[in-house]
Symmetry: C2
Subunit: 333 residues, 2 copies
């Protein structure tokens, strides 16, 4: 399996991205093609022992910067690492593309280069989100600030396939984010989407889930518009950061607490592992005609490796083929 990796994208590129790519090649049994400025990538690769690893370099002269608009990503910078990597997927020279770069840019480049799967109205970014019992899949987390009810239906179908085939959840329970559990609660988008979800064949729809229900594992797949989804993941991230800051502050003030924190280290590490995005990798972009994974901009090497692993699973499980068949069979009904 060949996975193209955007060596230039992300806050810690190229260093951490290349290091993560090397880890992935070593540990995941895939060929990693580093896409970016050849001299930069080769200089980074030289820092690692790459003997015997399936690593390649694909030159791309431009970089989509974090502040670049989606239009620049899609149209102006034609030789960017993102565009070049996605073209490799399109031409079959790579099975998947992974980037830690500008997610709006990645979306635009994917739409421009790969296009949508037949029948799909809008692609969506999905992410795995921790719950008290394990994980749930949340989508859309930012591809579509504005959504229509039919988009949410398609998000549910794509999320269902991903949860079932990639995450191995049997008959995933699908919910929709709302402001109350009762049918009839929510904004107009939710009220209009619920009947579509209820009637969708093959979907184990469990109804509305409130903000807190997500963490109580009320559903295996949680759909929402990209605005709300984005606010949820960033809000949770911010809240976790705040708790950590407040803890550090309190611990510094109290010697017994400092000893206590030391004794709790193992336990705290287990908890942090559960809520740490570097453990479970990037956000698959579902609905485009190619396997694309976009990782967190702040990804370190471990997170890069995890994102490559997500891409590998998408290829192995033939996500694209399954989504296509599901959407087609739905159209026939």
């Amino acid at each position: 399996m060949r996975i193209a990796l955007d060596a230039m994208g992300g806050d810690h590129a190229p260093e951490e991205v290349v290091a993560g790519g090397v880890m992935a090649a070593r540990e995941l049994g895939v060929t990693v093609i580093m896409v970016g400025k050849r001299d930069v990538v080769e200089a980074e690769l030289a820092k690692h022992d790459t003997e015997g690893l399936a690593l390649e370099v694909m030159h791309a002269s431009e970089v989509i910067e974090m502040e670049d608009s989606p239009a620049i990503a899609a149209k102006t910078k034609r030789d960017s690492s993102m565009r070049v990597g996605m073209h490799m997927v399109k031409d079959g020279r790579a099975d998947a593309f992974v980037t830690m770069g500008n997610s709006g840019g990645a979306l635009a480049a994917a739409l421009f280069t790969l296009g949508r799967l037949p029948g799909i109205r809008r692609p969506a970014f999905a992410t795995i989100f921790p719950t008290v019992k394990g994980f749930t899949l949340l989508l859309d987390i930012g591809a579509n600030a504005e959504c229509k009810p039919e988009y949410l239906l398609q998000f549910a179908m794509m999320g269902n396939v991903y949860s079932r085939d990639v995450l191995g959840v049997e008959n995933p329970r699908v919910g929709i984010v709302s402001t109350g559990e009762e049918r009839g609660k929510g904004n107009q988008l939710v009220l209009d989407a619920v009947p579509l979800l209820e009637q969708a064949p093959g979907l184990n729809f469990v109804g509305n889930v409130e903000g807190k229900d997500i963490f109580m594992a009320a559903a295996d797949v949680v759909v929402t518009d990209g605005f709300t989804g984005n606010v949820i993941i960033k809000g949770t991230e911010g809240f976790a950061w705040m708790l950590l800051e407040l803890s550090k502050r309190e611990i510094k003030r109290s010697p017994p607490a400092l000893v206590g924190a030391f004794l709790m280290k193992g336990a705290l590490r287990q908890i942090l592992k559960r809520v740490d995005y570097t453990e479970y990798g990037g956000a698959p972009l579902l609905g485009v005609n190619g396997n694309v994974v976009v990782g967190h901009g702040r990804s370190n090497r471990k997170a890069v490796r995890a994102a490559v692993k997500v891409a590998k699973q998408m290829v192995e499980k033939d996500m694209l083929g399954t989504i296509r068949r599901d959407i087609e069979s739905m159209g026939e009904r």
Copy 2:
């Protein structure tokens, strides 16, 4: 000052609500009028030493249940504790009304009984939200699932008054929840509201705040539609609950962690205090023609006392008069 308290509303009514009302009368120097079924309220009051406290009982024969629709609250149950309490505010027999009951019902009853302040399009529920530096005011957290840009402008103006006059923040920084800090990020509602906020006289508008920026204290007042606001507060609540559950589980597994947790108790208590809603009370309903505070349904006595305190501050600072003047002066421009 006379504050009417819905003795029948909330998951732990009447016991905890009456207990909280007694605490409030004792500690806050206000007269508390318990509104509800006289025999029930008096039986609860008999459990406390109320000697010398300014406590009254106002009979109301009906109760708005948690599962009652807003229409029932507004129209059918005319002798409910909510309706009776709000009527007291309307007639000047009470300065404010506080309830831990059904928030949708409270909103409907307030609109029906008290009406909106002149010029206000929609009332909003506001809440104080912890940040790494202190607190921010978030609104709307659930009164309006669907919003127009002008509503958000008015939320900002009302939040500004509340933050400045009740919370004592000098020249509050006002932000709007969005998916990126840059102007131009967000859904259509945000894109349309931003120019209104930028041009509003007397508003210290600081632009978009992302989910995580809320906790980083990027703004003193954060406006959003009631759907998003509701998902933020419930999501944070759920996440905090999950972390606590995972911590308990890990601590049980490890004896050193158990000792560590014991040593950290003081520090943890400080942190929990910061994120505990019972510390900072209920959500003021801003924009109706009367002082109304709606507390969390799960409120214990401490939370009830805090909600009464919020109401007291609203009265002392003449929130209604200030909002009315601000909206009027805006209309004249």
